[in-house]
């Protein structure tokens, strides 16, 4: 082995770039990942944009170039596609609006309670547990629990609520299941945030006479601002992508009232073989989602400064 003096070694580490051959060597580390990135993410995006500009049937391929026609069609309220798109968009928006406050609020409160309780690890594990389950197992269990006739929940509480087949119960059920299923993920993130608030801050508040609730309101929530905004934006994105809960619990019903945007895109593409217009819908959804996250991000940043 050649030996190099520490001073030269330090220089080599600090030196940016190096010879072209050296740089090529460095690039080789990133290359394998970039290949799969190009094949299975970048290419599909570009190909998808191209498909969305054509009539496309999976059996025959392109059925002619239509330009932005399918995007514009989504704004022509006379067309069936536009009606379907915006109805399912509204359904998804309703879900986002009712689910996100619970997906942030409930874990926030629970994380603070756990932080102040004994056996913290035990409670964290229990509340996180449903997050490890697949959509299908969660929906299989809840579809059974929420049966109107003879379902355990109605039996135990002596109710006769048509959980999955009548509104507004269908939304209540989907929301309940979603919070039960995925709240633990946010809880772990928020809990990690609470543990990062310095003990001095919290004990200083205690010395000043701040009680349990006062500390929560005046110290914990303001200090968690960053973490809560990340959780808020991530939950909005996740809720916007709603698919499995209505697909497997209510089948999108009653009527079309819980059919989500993702499910509608799936129906258009794989049910009706309209892959071109389904791609246009998907990209429109992507654009709307990007716009919403962008606005949220700046709202949150504005609030911070």
């Amino acid at each position: 082995m050649s030996s190099i003096s520490p001073a030269i070694a330090k220089k080599r580490v600090r030196k940016i770039g190096g010879s072209p051959l050296n740089q090529l060597g460095s690039f080789l580390f990133v290359l394998p990942y970039l290949i799969v990135f190009a094949l299975f993410l970048a290419y599909p995006i570009i190909f998808g944009i191209s498909v969305s500009l054509q009539h496309w049937n999976p059996m025959i391929g392109s059925g002619g170039f239509v330009g932005l026609g399918q995007y514009l069609g989504l704004f022509n309220m006379q067309s069936l596609t536009a009606q379907i798109f915006w109805t399912s968009f509204m359904n998804t928006a309703i879900f986002v609006v009712i689910s996100v406050p619970f997906l942030v609020g409930v874990p926030l409160i629970l994380a603070y309670l756990i932080y102040n309780a004994p056996v913290k690890g035990f409670f964290r594990a229990i509340f996180f547990f449903p997050s490890i389950l697949s959509a299908t197992s969660v929906m299989a269990v809840w579809a059974w629990l929420l049966q109107t006739q003879g379902g355990p929940i109605n039996q135990i509480f002596g109710l006769h609520i048509p959980w999955l087949v009548r509104q507004p119960w269908a939304w209540v059920s989907i929301d309940l299941v979603t919070v039960w299923w995925s709240m633990g993920f946010n809880l772990i993130i928020i809990y990690a945030g609470i543990t990062q608030i310095s003990d001095t801050t919290i004990s200083a508040a205690a010395i000043d006479g701040a009680g349990f609730l006062r500390t929560f309101r005046s110290i914990v929530v303001p200090q968690l601002r960053n973490v809560l905004s990340v959780v808020f934006i991530m939950s909005t994105i996740a809720s916007f992508n709603l698919f499995a809960q209505p697909f497997l619990l209510t089948g999108g019903g009653p009527g079309q009232s819980t059919t989500s945007l993702s499910q509608e895109i799936y129906n258009q593409g794989f049910g009706l073989n309209h892959m071109g217009s389904a791609s246009a819908m998907a990209f429109m959804m992507g654009l709307i989602l990007a716009a919403v996250s962008f606005v949220q991000y700046f709202m949150v940043r504005e609030g911070r400064s």
Binding site: A9, V13, W144
Partner: protein, 276 residues
Amino acid sequence: MVTHKWQRAIILVVLIIGSIVMLFPFAWLVSTSLKPLADAFDGNFIPQHLTFSNFTQILANGSAASVGQWLGNSIFSAISTSILVMLLDSLAAYGLARLHFLGKKVVFYVLVGSLMVPFIAILIPLYLEFANLNLLDTYGALILPYTSNAFGVFLLYQFFLSIPKELEEAAIIDGANKFQMWRKIFLPLSIPATATLGMMTFMGVYNDFFWPLVATSSNSMRTMTVGVALMTIGPYSTNYPLLMALTIFSMIPTLIAFIFAQRQLLQGVATTGINI
């Protein structure tokens, strides 16, 4: 900070009630799977006629569910994906965090931007691409699409940034090249973070439903999640004890992973919020 005993008591009571609510569906799942069909709707938590016949019926030859095959497909594709992701992401993260080459910044921002793309946007083109490659309904379709996610690159990137420069300097003195540096220093030091990534990838692939639903079509290539879903809306739709037993089968791998790697998993989730 909590000064009063009664406050501690209330917190504990609230959390215990919360825990019961969280575990209640799971308890009923187990209870129903141990009942004969005739007792499914009897409303008793404790099965009156305890039976394991639902489990044996699912595993029996000629059962509508091919549990062994589906479970095998899911586990094989989830483990293969995890290994690939850990390797590719570790190399790329090392290159981005510790090495220099022309265009590194561009690559970095392209990867950041890619995290914003919702899966639904690439669902259809990905499907068409795999159809063109004749890879639909193969293990390739169940593994390759998951390798492109940039999440793991950032997870390890953050970790590699935190490794002190002195270690690199010492290795250069010993005459190590870049690959040896990754192999002998960065990879071993990042085992906990890499294991966390592998764990999260395993869970993500094992639990995914949307993509395997469209990417597979023959019964022998179905994954556990899709298989269970097809039974839910198909042959088992009214036989809840059978369906619950099947659901328990589908949970076994993730339950085992959760029990043995809970700490890594929770750590991984916690860093998700701090990284972004």
